[in-house]
Symmetry: C2
DNA sequence: GATGTTCGTTTGTTGGACAAGCGAATATTT
DNA sequence: AAATATTCGCTTGTCCAACAAACGAACATC
């Protein structure tokens, strides 16, 4: 007969109100928010209550602090949204197989699209990534961060904001998976080598604006990744490990 | 020569500290957090500072309030993470084309996977969704929410947590796109009808555990969606409109 | 022209305080 | 005895008042 009532604390209303101003365009990226005392006065609340609302906004990525100073409205960036999503997936004990399946859908088509749109600067950025990778490889250091960065670069070149946002949390989670893979004796030498070679092929395809080749090599690259995982007898259905830092 | 220094406010340290406890498993989903005064004592901070940290945690979805009472640790759910991501995409003025492209990668493979795993209860849920849709259709009401729900159902049946998280923000944004589409005279009648028919075909394929048919029909369904958009001479590269509520 | 001083502004932090909602225990009524 | 009312303690949400630290700007000094 009556609807469920749930009280909304004032600090949440503050957050929603400011968010609404932002989403409606009355506050745009770069604009400064009024100072806390002024907000408190406008809302008719204590400064502290307003501050709690601002913390909510801050964590949602809509506003940011500029070097300890006044809060400014921001466009949330996929790189800030991703960690939260990654955390959620870890807590839900996502498996390698799940991550791989989604990447298998997204990465090849990202490569294909990137092939159509890539320009010289972007080619240079990819080449640079590969060069650094070769250096680290020669020095016997880890290339995992560079690998994750490479794939993000390709996705950025593809120029699809939805794709970028969708794939980043997943991409980040390959970090621990790759670490595990390259720590295994069966893969610690050939694995990174094959990875760099695949990136070489992908870059070549992108350079020639060859959609099909880019897609194909990306697909092979992903399949190879999974095969390496299986070769080491890792369980594809086991939860991805927690990455400490 | 020296690294950049940036002061970290205490409330953020509080957030990070508690988050670390959660991610390390020392605090698991369902556990209650200590009360605010106790946290303040342990951290050696004022209660208010701790509260601000808790607001950050709250917005990140790691803790939640149970009916105004004590905070409990939660597993962030994709349905809570999605709105933030959707907002980010709207602010970045994501286009229909971008959303469609990603969905074109994700939805068909989700359907294929769902075909392998679907059980009777899930079939019933889909059938129920379609039945409701037919009702709304007959009553001349909007079927948009049911359409979005249908696709989310299929993704849930696919049983891939990473997929679910990746697609939901995008799926949500088709809401305004569909509204625009079905408001157009060219599509307000045939559009919803074709949509329901496609869902019928998809359900049939899923029922028979026919991966290929499910994938094919989902793909056709998506292509049809785009075609409808083009038919109405809508600009695929225009930013998706802001959805008020 | 570079460095130091002063000062107002704004945020981060603290302390103490109180009302309201909730759970549990206890008292009261029928 | 069962249902209802009262009381009480706990915890959160909110408020008020205050101060330290960082910053920007204007000004003074060397």
């Amino acid at each position: 007969m009556f609807q469920r009532i749930e009280a909304v604390p004032a600090y949440r209303i503050v957050c929603d109100a400011i968010e609404k101003q932002i989403m409606s365009g009355r506050l745009g990226a770069g604009d400064q928010l009024p100072i806390e005392t002024e907000l408190a006065e406008q809302f008719g609340l204590a400064r502290h209550t307003v501050r709690e609302g601002l913390r909510l906004l801050e964590e949602s990525g809509l506003v940011g602090r500029e070097a300890g100073r006044r809060l400014v409205v921001k466009e949330p960036h996929y790189a800030e949204l991703a960690p939260r999503a990654s955390r959620a997936l870890i807590m839900q004990r996502v498996t390698f197989e799940e991550l791989w399946e989604v990447s298998m859908s997204l990465e090849p088509s990202a490569a294909a699209r990137a092939a159509s749109r890539i320009d010289d600067d972007q080619i240079a950025a990819l080449e640079d990534n590969l060069r650094q990778m070769e250096e680290e490889l020669a020095a016997g250091r880890s290339i995992i961060a560079l690998d994750v960065a490479f794939h993000t670069l390709v996705a950025e070149i593809a120029g699809n904001k939805a794709l970028l946002l969708a794939r980043e949390p997943i991409s980040q989670l390959f970090y621990p998976a790759l670490e595990k893979l390259f720590a295994h004796p069966l893969n610690c030498v050939t694995g990174p080598r094959r990875l760099a070679d695949a990136h070489r092929h992908i870059i070549d395809a992108l350079k020639h604006h060859d959609r099909d080749a880019a897609e194909l090599w990306m697909r092979r690259h992903m399949v190879d990744f999974r095969r390496g995982y299986e070769l080491c007898s890792f369980d594809l259905r086991e939860a991805i490990a927690f990455e400490g830092a």
